[in-house]
Symmetry: C2
Subunit: 230 residues, 2 copies
DNA sequence: CACTATGGTCAACGGTGTTGGCATAAGCTG
DNA sequence: CAGCTTATGCCAACACCGTTGACCATAGTG
């Protein structure tokens, strides 16, 4: 039987580890984020995290049921950073744009962490706040409940999906990343116009376009689609 | 030093394993796809694959440099299935919709495999063909090169990003999947209306909406946005 | 038939998440 | 301040994982 995990609020005894540091959910998540940044998305392991915190790996199971629950907590921390200090302006289009860009930016700022968490529903406080914010903007804009839910789903999933995609390419090991960029400049540029006329024609533009995120453009198109429905 | 891998074409000796089966790259990829479907995205391991093929795990290194190269081969197989037999109809909107749905469907049909491969840019024949097709549709529809490139980028990344996101949630291990669904039915439904009025109001709709893919709706919104620019 | 080198096998290494049992000290009670 | 309880950190172990190097049986070549 797994050990019971005490919720962070009702944690009263803060016994320090052998080396003197006092653990907490927040400290563990922050350390995990740092490790992800330094060692890549596969670099977060219970043993390494224990090493970084100077505690036994099994101690982590007093705070999280397993590595999976830890990644959920990491994801919620990112979401919390995304919307910290935001408040609605009343202009639905500007508000949705801001929310989307903020979430996308927060995740892409921690690509290795984003790769692990973007596709998960955490159900934790910060995620709930974000969902509530988006739904509020849409309802205030005049959408009915049913349509607001549809647009909300498309909007939030598109944001998270692009965040995951962009994060994945940012999180690639340096060697693979370099070879990817090389490909846009070599493979695509020397394409025979006979077999791929449109690619050949667009090659110069593609070389500069494809190394940036398509999220802003995709977001703008989606907002235009939403506006067309109002 | 790793063992050299003999290309599939120049393979001459087909020595059978102890149990009598003769290995090949194709047989290994097919078996891997079946294992992924049956055991989940974490269920593909060298040892288990060896067990299924009735050969020693280390034998796989005669065919692939490692598990990573094997996953790339799997991804290539998926991309080949996506656009097989497709040809443009002349209606740009219908064509983009079809291309998007086909790619999305091909990946989501093998979610456990897709989750391992979606973030990789291969630059191989099938990927080039898809890019050429999308650009061709947009140019024929009347977009200039520059705008076609922008829309193409948003469209193709939206498709891949949603494919990755949807595949990831479909491919979650049973335990995690169950906890994600639990989240929608328990946490979200008992939310205090005081702190999250819009979520509480939409909870019943969300419970049914969030378990399906938002890609069709997001694709429609994007297409409406594109149409508004024509 | 003899030779060669392909490719299957075996054993081992260092890594992983996770668990049950144990010991110690933090904070409550008096 | 003393004593108790139990939360919580630590330890050892388990069953996996990918990968490698050495070994050797044998299919195909000449």
């Amino acid at each position: 039987m797994p050990k019971p995990v005490v919720p962070e609020q009702s944690r009263r005894r803060r016994r320090p580890t052998r080396s003197g540091t006092v653990l907490s959910e927040q400290l563990i998540v922050e350390t995990a984020l740092r490790m992800l940044r330094e060692h890549g998305s596969t670099g977060l392991t219970a043993r390494r995290l224990g090493l970084a915190l100077d505690c036994d790996p099994s101690t982590l199971y007093r705070y999280f049921r397993g590595m999976d629950e830890l990644t959920l907590a990491i994801g919620d921390t990112l979401m919390g950073q995304a919307l910290r200090g935001w408040s609605p302006s009343g202009d639905w289009r500007a508000d949705l744009r801001t929310i989307g860009v903020r979430i996308h930016r927060a995740y892409v700022a921690h690509p290795q962490a984003a790769v692990l968490t973007t596709s998960r529903v955490t159900g934790r406080a910060n995620e709930l706040a974000a969902d509530e914010a988006v739904l509020g903007v849409l309802r205030t804009a005049g959408f009915g409940v049913r349509e607001a839910v549809t647009v909300y789903h498309a909007f939030i999933d598109q944001t998270l999906a692009f965040a995951a995609l962009d994060a994945a390419s940012l999180a690639l090991p340096n060697a693979a990343l370099h070879s990817d960029e090389e490909m846009w400049h070599s493979t695509y540029r020397r394409l025979p116009a006979a077999t791929h006329p449109h690619l050949a024609e667009a090659a110069p533009l593609l070389a500069t376009e494809m190394v940036t995120s398509a999220y802003p453009a995709a977001l703008e198109l989606l907002l235009e689609g939403v506006a067309a429905r109002l």
